[in-house]
């Protein structure tokens, strides 16, 4: 809360700085802006940036560093004996943080007085009572060292925030004064603002890149941790997927093969649906359709791409599944047991991918130069001969790229499989049987109370990592092919 106020304050300060800077610049030259090096607004922006950027940076860095520091100093002050009672330091620290948060909210609700919450020798029972009547749930009993650690955690956190606000506000004010003092007619405010903007853009770009790196790193570390608990060969080559939720580890079978099989099978069905339909639609739209039809049909196809996948999932569950069951179920052919099956999910996913394939292929077909077509027509080829023998071969690498991109989307798709394919991990050739995919299993391993020290939960990271590597590989190949193809005509 206080952090938000601090942020608002420096924003307000920087806005004020803008007007102050501009005003001062103008008044220094008696309102004749021709005597200034830069336009007055640049002097204003300079002051605004100086008041905002360093303070905001400090705010961010401090907000990240403080919890790390507090955690570190508290955990090193906890006596060894207290650690050995619970299983690990990490768990104990989690408990300490919970108690500290609990103290905060019980004090806010008034069930415990502030003095009691700060008293290191407070009666443990009355604290526990206070927690209970405030509706705070504790997983284990509060011990004295835990309470004391929580109390010092609280005070360090509060002090830290207090000093942070002071520092940030002070820095912002300093920046403001600095900026105003810089405001002289010959000062090159324009160039400074230019640089300031560049820094802003760079930091936006690096946030995007850094978070990606962070996600990948966390995937890697957690995957590594999983492999210390569960043998990698069993994971990659195990043909059975049967996680147990009873105890920690032990009897679980966590083989990825059935899941990969389901993923690839469903994706295959989806591509078999999406590629011909999407490609033919693209050929029709780009080669045969008149301009009016094209102007109508293209956006309509693209609407399909805008439908959230959960809606497709519902469609699979409520429409396609029952429809298939009526034909292939016990009433009909008799090879389908339930509405959820590889076929159901694959068909619907295929429909989802049609606009993806068609709009990519359409772009690629349009990129084939008209002169190629003219050359073919001038030799007496018909339109379909021209498409088959000139346009498609020329566009082929690009189309293959589009298909690979579609495949990587199919592999990563979750909602349609969760609703349409069932939850049984099995390796079967019958497309009318329920199977499941890597993504669906990641969801089911992590929904509910996941204990992130057990292989049953950590396996999600290994699954995610595997998917990531597969789709990354596909994307790289696809982009490589597409780029290669572009070079051909440029």
């Amino acid at each position: 809360m206080l952090v938000l106020w601090a942020l608002l304050f420096i924003l307000a300060l920087s806005a004020t700085g803008f007007f102050l800077g501009r005003q001062r610049a103008l008044s220094l030259v008696n309102g004749d802006q021709r005597n200034l090096h830069s336009m007055p607004k640049y002097y204003g922006s300079n002051v605004a940036l100086k008041a905002l950027v360093p303070a905001a940076l400090l705010l961010v860095v401090w907000s990240i560093a403080q919890p790390l520091y507090v955690n570190y100093s508290i955990s090193s002050s906890i006596p060894e004996s207290a650690v050995s009672e619970t299983s690990s330091l990490g768990l104990l620290m989690a408990e300490v943080r919970r108690v500290a948060d609990g103290l905060d909210s019980t004090v806010a609700q008034g069930t415990i007085s502030d003095e009691l919450a700060r008293d290191p020798n407070a009666d443990l029972n009355s604290i526990t009572e206070g927690f209970k009547s405030a509706g705070q749930i504790l997983t284990s009993e509060i011990t004295r060292p835990m309470l004391q650690a929580a109390q010092s955690y609280r005070s360090m956190r509060r002090d830290g925030r207090f000093y942070m606000i002071i520092a940030v506000v002070a820095l912002s004010l300093l920046g403001l004064i600095w900026g105003i003092r810089e405001t002289q007619p010959r000062f090159r405010a324009r160039n400074v603002v230019e640089n300031g903007l560049k820094v802003l853009l760079i930091s936006a770009a690096s946030i995007a890149i850094l978070t990606t790196i962070g996600i990948v790193l966390s995937l890697i570390f957690n995957t590594y941790e999983f492999f210390t608990l569960y043998p990698a060969s069993d994971f990659f080559f195990g043909t059975s997927w049967a996680p147990s939720f009873s105890g920690r580890g032990g009897s679980s079978d966590l083989g990825i093969l059935p899941l990969l099989w389901g993923t690839l099978y469903i994706s295959l069905v989806a591509l078999v649906v999406a590629v011909p339909i999407g490609l033919f639609a693209a050929i029709y739209l780009s080669e045969y359709a008149g301009p009016q039809l094209r102007a109508m049909a293209k956006p309509m196809l693209e609407v399909l791409a805008g439908i959230p996948t959960i809606v497709y999932g519902l469609f699979a569950l409520l429409t396609v599944g029952p429809l298939l069951l009526a034909v292939f179920g016990d009433e009909g052919v008799g090879i389908m047991q339930a509405g959820t099956a590889v076929m159901t999910a694959g068909l619907v996913m295929g429909i989802m991918l049609i606009p993806f394939v068609s709009s990519l292929s359409d772009d690629i077909i349009n990129a084939v130069p008209q002169s190629m077509r003219d050359g073919s027509y001038a030799l007496g080829a018909t339109q379909s001969e021209t498409i088959k023998k000139v346009v498609l071969p020329a566009a082929l690498p690009g189309i293959v790229g589009a298909i690979l991109l579609a495949a990587s989307r199919a592999i990563g798709e979750t909602m349609i499989v969760v609703l349409g394919a069932g939850a049984a991990a099995r390796m079967s050739l019958n497309p009318f049987e329920a199977m499941t995919t890597v993504t669906a299993k990641i969801v089911s391993q992590l929904t509910g109370d996941a204990d992130f020290s057990s292989p049953e939960a950590l396996v999600a990271f290994a699954l995610g990592m595997t998917l990531f590597v597969i789709t990354l590989g596909l994307n790289i190949i696809a982009l490589y092919i597409v780029r290669k193809y572009r070079e051909q005509y440029e």
């Binding site: 008149g290 301009p291 130069p369 002169s371 190629m372 077509r373 003219d374 050359g375 073919s376 027509y377 001038a378 030799l379 007496g380 080829a381 018909t382 001969e385 023998k389 000139v390 071969p393 020329a394 051909q488």
Partner: protein, 277 residues
Amino acid sequence: MKMDSNKIYKSEAATSHLPGMLHEAAKPKMRGENVNVFYGEKQALFDVNLDIGANEVTALIGPSGCGKSTFLRCLNRMNDTIDICRVTGKITLDDDDIYDPKIDVVELRARVGMVFQKPNPFPKSIFENVAYGPRIHGLSRNKTDLEEIVVTSLRRAGLFQEVKDRMHQPGTGLSGGQQQRLCIARAIAVSPEVILMDEPCSALDPIATATVEELIDELRENYTIVIVTHSMQQAARVSQKTAFFHLGNLVEHGDTDEIFQNPREERTKNYITGRIG
């Protein structure tokens, strides 16, 4: 507008080695009568009357935008590929109206081939580029037949010596001049009767241009050729007949020597001497 479409050419084809041509010479291979072309509302050609003599080279000249390409594209109905383009009047090939709804456009284009301003080989091998037309028209009985056609066409286009060791490498890997000759080989592989060339040398260096011009001169023996060019020298060098277009009108046409030495129209004279264009 003064028009004398009835003027009968004393054809240069008299020099042809094909004896049968002697009687045919007087009769034009293609003939345009009152050709008007519209792009949407805009009219691009006005009542053009022009005969294309058999076994000779007709050059179309005129300033940019005057309708040379438009007229050329009427002759094999390549204008059909432009949605907004509309053609009226009559164009005949050997007395058949090519805009007759009953005519097979695909066959027409096999008889009236075209070489474009910018070389546009297909992204296939040199062999496949030339074999493309014969394949779709089924001109060969077997593989050796097809190879024969490809080699003959390449030889005629003056390219065979340069590419005989790399027949199966992509045609797009050739130089600009080689690509243009490849496109010419591709066009003659389907044995057309007329070859239309739209500024075939505009992307070529002088040496490649000279090769293509020599080639055109040789091709005249067996084909009727219409060439659009911006180079007066080229028109004078390769053509027997010249037609001058200006603002969508056919201003003057006749023997090339006469047009260049003794133009009847003021506008022609101004264009040839470089005062308009």
